[in-house]
């Protein structure tokens, strides 16, 4: 039972990070009907920027409690600029092109960003600076540390904030209007290019936070981390129903749980044949299962309704 609770705790923490990244996929899909496959790399750049800026600030002797928010702000701005640039360069010129074209530029952007990161930060793993004592607590037999608690609460708060923006503000209303009918939105006076840019920037800001969280949680960052993370978050978005914000959050948390419980029990289930190093496989089982059994996802509507 202790393993069970432990895996639930781990799964929820990891899942909340997936949820933040999945929101980025789903917001862009909702508004443009496009899968931004470069989004995982924005998370990676976020992790790298966070790490570099934190190390630099701590190196200048800045207290951690000041360095952390400053570095977070810097990382978010950097990723927002990156998300804006990706849309302008890779997607906007192809707005009316066949669907395959932006998919290919997305892969191109991913490769460029990975290589850029490799040139700037090298091939090695980067250790995340330890800033707080990171005490551990016991909760129903499961161990949880301060970093995990902060990650989980921050992620939930950000998601709640995003829901408020999308459902309660003029900007959010315009985003939903553009998602539904770009022409009609223009007839209301909405500058759709501006709304699309803001959507990319919002998603990228969430990716920045997620990047910082992943590297803080695992204590590491690497130029290749965006690929797997992006694929998993995309899976989470598909699981919840791509285009649906609540779906992305639910899908992220569920995927985190599935992965973590799967990793915890796979040894028992296979008689020790497979170990927890097979953890990554679960995301892909989930992706295949959803695509086969319920392509519209848990909270998604039938695809025909969108078209």
């Amino acid at each position: 039972m202790e393993i069970f609770f432990q895996q639930i705790v781990n799964g929820l923490v990891q899942g909340s990070v997936y949820a933040l990244v999945a929101l980025g996929y789903t917001m862009v899909y909702g508004i443009l009907g496009l899968i931004n496959f470069a989004h995982g790399e924005v998370v990676m750049i976020g992790a790298m920027l966070a790490l570099s800026s934190l190390n630099a600030m701590l190196g200048w002797g800045m207290p951690p409690l000041l360095a952390l928010p400053l570095s977070l702000a810097f990382t978010m701005l950097g990723c927002m600029a990156l998300g804006y640039g990706i849309e302008r360069i890779a997607y906007r010129p192809l707005r009316h092109a066949p669907r395959l074209a932006p998919l290919i530029t997305a892969i191109g952007v991913s490769i460029v960003l990975q290589n850029l990161a490799m040139m700037v930060w090298g091939r090695q793993y980067h250790a995340f600076p330890q800033m707080i004592a990171n005490n551990t607590h016991t909760l129903a037999g499961a161990i949880i540390n301060d970093v995990q608690i902060i990650i989980f609460i921050t992620a939930l708060a950000i998601m709640a904030g995003l829901m408020v923006v999308v459902h309660r503000t003029r900007l959010g209303r315009a985003m939903r209007a553009v998602a539904e009918d770009q022409h009609a939105a223009q007839l209301m006076g909405v500058d759709i290019n501006r709304v699309i840019s803001i959507t990319f920037m919002l998603g990228s800001a969430l990716a920045a936070v997620a990047g910082l969280m992943v590297s803080a949680n695992y204590g590491l960052a690497h130029y290749y981390m965006g690929f797997l993370l992006g694929l998993k978050a995309f899976t989470a978005a598909v699981l919840g129903g791509i285009g649906n914000l609540r779906g992305a959050m639910l899908g992220g948390l569920l995927l985190g749980l599935i992965e973590s419980l799967g990793a915890g029990y796979i040894g028992d289930l296979t008689g020790g044949f497979m170990g927890s190093n097979y953890q990554d496989v679960f995301a892909f089982f989930v992706l295949i299962a959803v695509l086969v059994l319920r392509p519209s996802g848990l909270l998604g509507e039938r695809l025909a309704e969108r078209a």
Binding site: R173, A177, E180, A185, Q186, L187
Partner: protein, 238 residues
């Protein structure tokens, strides 16, 4: 005709190789209700979309309030007072009725005035008031048309363009929509009304234009057009 609100001169619009509008010239004075009639595929919707800025003309001039609209994007035209209720209404089905109306005021500032206008719309369309928190997609066709018109009015247009507001509606609802168009016209804005229902449109309008295969073939006061043999034969089933 120098005091026109809208002046279109020799407008030409094409979809790729398809030449849909071939030299339309028309004017609308401030406060005037003008009907644009014509059979299917004549180019009426294309003309309105071009005026709204959704399509770009091949050639020709559009002057609104003395300004050339050539380089003005669709979303900027709304702020200038040009509003189109598109064919098929363009309601945001997954927004509530109230959110749809608020979208209409997107290009405006001033929370108080917007709230006052919202209340006025609910007075004008009590049906919408009852359904304001409902998703707009759940409204009936007639209610959606009302919502689309109310939403357009929320932008405080000076030139309101309506593309077939009676399309697909039951006769009673068609009457109601035309009554509303007259009420709106009485508020003093200019209206360009595109309609299949030529008789009702001309009865409501002061002047009318007849469009055929992308060009204006007849123009005149509504009474003249209603009495014209050509119009009667082609559009009034006479």
């Amino acid at each position: 005709m120098t005091d026109s609100l809208l002046e279109i001169h020799d407008l030409q619009v094409a979809y790729g190789g398809i030449h849909a509008v071939k030299g339309v010239t028309l004017q609308i004075a401030p406060g005037e209700l003008v009907a644009l009639i014509g059979s299917n595929g004549a180019g009426k919707t294309t003309t309105l979309k071009t005026l709204a800025g959704l399509l770009h003309p091949v050639s020709g001039q559009i002057r609104y309030d003395g300004k050339d609209l050539h380089n003005i994007a669709a979303h900027q035209r709304v702020a200038m007072g040009i509003t189109l209720v598109p064919e098929g209404r363009g309601i945001f089905a997954r927004l509530t009725v109230q959110e749809n109306l608020q979208m209409g005021a997107y290009s405006r500032n001033g929370q108080h005035e917007i709230a006052a206008d919202l209340a006025r719309m609910y007075e004008l369309f009590p049906r919408l008031a009852e359904r304001k928190d409902q998703l707009a997609g759940t409204l009936s066709g007639g209610e959606q048309q009302m919502a689309a018109m109310a939403r357009a009015l929320m932008s405080r247009p000076r030139l309101l363009m309506l593309d077939e507001p009676s399309m697909g509606l039951a006769p009673l609802m068609v009457q109601k929509i035309f009554e509303t168009v007259r009420d709106i016209a009485a508020l003093g804005m200019s209206i360009l009304l595109v309609e299949q229902n030529a008789r009702l449109a001309l009865q409501a309008a002061q002047r009318g234009y007849v469009m055929e295969s992308g060009a204006i073939t007849l123009a005149g006061a509504s009474g003249e057009l209603l009495g014209s043999e050509a119009v009667q034969r082609a559009y009034l089933g006479g």
